[in-house]
């Protein structure tokens, strides 16, 4: 497993704030990896440490067996969360400039840029100034800037934020293209559908800690429950009897169905049987795994409750001091 990107025991404090606390996860090469977390969870700090822009207080990052501090800078391609381009320069000049810093010759850079502009359906912007481009198009330029030097690992902070569906689609295609070229892609996002669509593995970070990581399938299974969606002909609000079925909890009342959590070890079909026994006309019965959204909310939401309690205790303690 020496070829993976291995992040081990990273910790980082900014003054009193703990940004990362013993962060450990692993990214297999040639895969697309999603880094999920609420705002301020530590995703960006983690990425900056991998890129060696920031040094951790403890822990290591290794890629294919080598420490990141020893790796050449062109190992990584970076798309920062805050977009940054020289607004008054021409698109082609900006991109050629960034490429030149990685030692890419102008002619090679131009050929590659032309190819990507074509792919992103904006070849006419090649000689325009960056400031004339829309936000979405600037975002595509920013992506091209990250890959011109043909890096092994692409690290992208919120690459889909602010993109319309069409541009999102183009960027997803580009992701898959890069993966097919054998690149490793890591990106952070809030959009769970995008993660479901692209990622093979994820890590969820919450307040500096990795709460869960692994392949999407394993993460779902680790939830220890299945989801059942049930709809009947009658008024589904009258389904209180469901909670009498062993271990089953109603998690959501939707417009035309109810969602039920079924713990591992319980046969979901017991619900169906119970419904039929009561003479209900079942119009929908679906067994599935929890969505990533549910996984995320379960992991991060619970912890949020804890935090509030800690804060409340802190406040009480301070109150007695005074």
């Amino acid at each position: 497993m020496a070829v993976s990107l291995v992040i081990e025991h990273l910790s980082k404090r900014f003054g009193p704030i703990v940004a990362l606390d013993d962060v450990t996860f692993r990214v297999e090469p040639g895969r697309i990896f999603g880094l999920l977390g609420a705002n301020g969870a530590g995703k960006t700090t983690c990425m900056r440490i991998v890129l060696d822009i920031l040094r951790p207080d403890g822990g290591t990052v290794t890629w294919q067996g080598a420490r990141n501090v020893d790796l050449p800078r062109d190992t990584w391609g970076y798309l920062p969360e805050e977009r940054g381009l020289y607004m008054r320069m021409r698109v082609i000049d900006v991109l050629a400039y960034f490429a030149s810093l990685y030692g890419v010759r102008r002619a090679d850079a131009e050929r590659e840029v032309d190819d990507w502009l074509e792919r992103f359906r904006i070849p006419e912007y090649r000689d325009r100034k960056v400031e004339e481009l829309s936000k979405g198009n600037q975002q595509k330029i920013q992506f091209i800037a990250a890959i011109l030097h043909d890096p092994d690992v692409l690290i992208m902070d919120e690459p889909f934020s602010g993109l319309d569906p069409v541009n999102s689609g183009l960027l997803k295609e580009a992701f898959l293209e890069m993966r097919d070229r054998g690149k490793t892609l890591i990106f952070s996002t809030h959009q769970m559908e995008t993660v479901e669509e692209l990622c093979e593995a994820i890590a969820i970070i919450d307040r500096g800690r990795v709460v869960v990581s692994g392949t999407v399938r394993d993460v779902r299974r680790a939830m220890g429950r299945q989801v059942v969606r049930l709809a009947t002909d009658g008024d589904h609000r009258g389904l209180e009897w469901l909670s009498t079925v062993d271990g089953v909890t109603v998690t959501a009342h939707r417009q035309d169905y109810v969602e039920l959590a079924v713990p591992a070890g319980t046969d979901p079909e017991r619900i169906l049987r119970a419904a039929l026994d009561r003479g209900e006309r079942v119009t929908r019965f679906e067994i599935g795994e929890p969505t990533l959204e549910e996984v995320f909310i379960e992991h991060v939401g619970q912890r949020a409750d804890l935090e509030e309690r800690h804060l409340a205790q802190g406040r009480t303690a301070r109150g007695t001091d005074e």
């Binding site: 040094r55 800078r73 920062p80 940054g84 607004m87 008054r88 030692g103």
Partner: protein, 424 residues
């Protein structure tokens, strides 16, 4: 330091070309060049304007006292070969007085012979007695009186010329090495170089700081720092923005030198005589070589530190605040050299002139005014300069790499110190 290139070169080239190509740069440079040219030509232009406005005075002289032409030539002789005086003989005193009141005449001089035979003068004018022109009339009157007395005493008019020959007066300084404070063209040159150094350091240093802060506020820096090392970025930035600054500086300075060279020609055209106006005459230009040799690295030293401090600012508005310390250092050198010019041989001046922040100012001043810089002093100053340059680059790169990701934090000396001390 070897790993600086080629990335520092790429950074510098982008910085230089994007800056020099802007319209603002072209306009500001053109305006400053015109100002430089104007300043250089100012003395001639002022004389041209002054020369056209002659001082006209009326002379009402009793018979056998003073001729208008005699008074005119004495006054003009005292005007350093100029032609600023016109003396007209008046018949009607009342009318002449009215003309003085109206401003048609600048004054009316009445000459009579007193009872004891001496000449008596009466100046009618609205000029105060301390006015320079008034003083000139008075000294001309003294000369006329003495000449008149000599004539009445029976002295041969031919000998009178000998009597009025210029005084032989020579000055000798206690310290032969000191040409004195602000003496002659070389003193002016020393002043000019010190002022130009100060202006360049502060103006273009701020440019560099702004350019760094701009990259930070536009967040380009985050991408740059993954592509190149802080030291490469810093060095490139300073070289590029510094070179753009020096380009502007050279154009303005060039315009000034052209102006000085044109002074004599222009004076001849406008005034009909060159009047010894060639300002480049008598200047010792050999100073320009050591001046440049210390100005350029000194300039870079300031720029590097400006760049490091600039990276502490999150927004453009904060740049002036965080670069404040540099302004103090720059002004320190500037004022020190003014004091030092009075005593270029003092021990403290010698010591201070070896320190890199001050050597561009003080070595120039010492060389121009006292010619007392020893070869070993040049060597020590150069070595220290090199050492400081490397150290400053290291320090600035550290501030830079720490400052890059610090947004919105307060920028003061303490946070700078923390930035330098952090592990990265």
């Amino acid at each position: 330091m070897i790993d600086l290139f080629p990335n520092a070169w790429h950074v510098a080239r982008r910085e230089y070309t994007t800056r020099v190509r802007t319209r603002t740069f072209a306009i500001v440079t053109a305006v400053l060049a015109v100002v430089g040219l104007g300043l250089a030509l100012a003395p001639v232009l002022i004389r041209a304007i002054e020369g056209n406005s002659q001082t006209r005075i009326g002379l009402d002289a009793a018979d056998g006292t003073v001729q208008a032409t005699t008074l005119g030539s004495i006054l003009n002789a005292g005007d350093q070969g100029g032609n600023g005086w016109q003396v007209v003989a008046v018949q009607d005193v009342a009318a002449a007085r009215a003309q003085v009141r109206d401003g048609d005449l600048d004054g009316l001089l009445t000459v009579t012979r007193a009872a004891d035979g001496d000449l008596a003068f009466n100046a009618f004018s609205d000029a105060p007695p301390t006015d320079l022109r008034f003083q000139q009339v008075r000294s001309a009157a003294t000369q006329l009186t003495v000449a008149d007395r000599l004539e009445r005493a029976g002295v041969d008019p031919g000998r009178a010329a000998e009597i009025f020959a210029p005084t032989r007066f020579q000055t000798e300084a206690v310290d032969p090495n000191t040409t004195g404070f602000m003496q002659g063209a070389n003193g002016v040159l020393a002043y000019a170089l010190v002022i130009l150094t100060f202006m360049a350091v502060v103006t273009y240093g701020t440019w560099v700081a702004n350019s760094v802060a701009e990259e930070k506020s536009s967040r380009v820096m985050e991408l740059l720092i993954t592509a190149a090392t802080p030291r490469q970025l810093m060095a490139g930035k300073v070289l590029g923005a510094g070179a753009a600054g020096l380009t502007q500086y050279a154009v303005v300075l060039g315009a000034g030198v052209v102006g000085l060279a044109l002074q004599a020609t222009l004076a001849e055209r406008l005034l009909g005589d060159s009047g010894g106006a060639n300002a480049l005459q008598g200047l010792d230009f050999s100073i320009l070589l050591p001046f440049t040799a210390f100005f350029v690295p000194g300039f870079l030293l300031y720029c590097i530190l400006y760049a490091g401090l600039g990276s502490m600012a999150s927004r453009q508005e904060d740049v002036n605040q965080v670069t404040g310390p540099m302004l103090f250092v720059g002004m320190g050198g500037y004022f020190a050299s003014f004091v030092a010019m009075a005593t270029p041989a003092a021990a403290w001046v010698k010591i201070l002139s070896l320190i890199p922040f001050f050597s561009p100012y003080l070595l120039t001043a010492r060389t121009v005014l006292a010619h007392n810089v020893q070869p070993w002093e040049w060597a020590v100053a150069a070595a220290l300069m090199l050492l400081f340059l490397v150290g400053a680059l290291w320090l600035a790169a550290r501030i830079y790499s720490a400052g890059v990701l610090m947004y919105g934090q307060r920028s003061n000396l303490r946070s700078i110190w923390r930035a330098v001390r952090v592990n990265r």
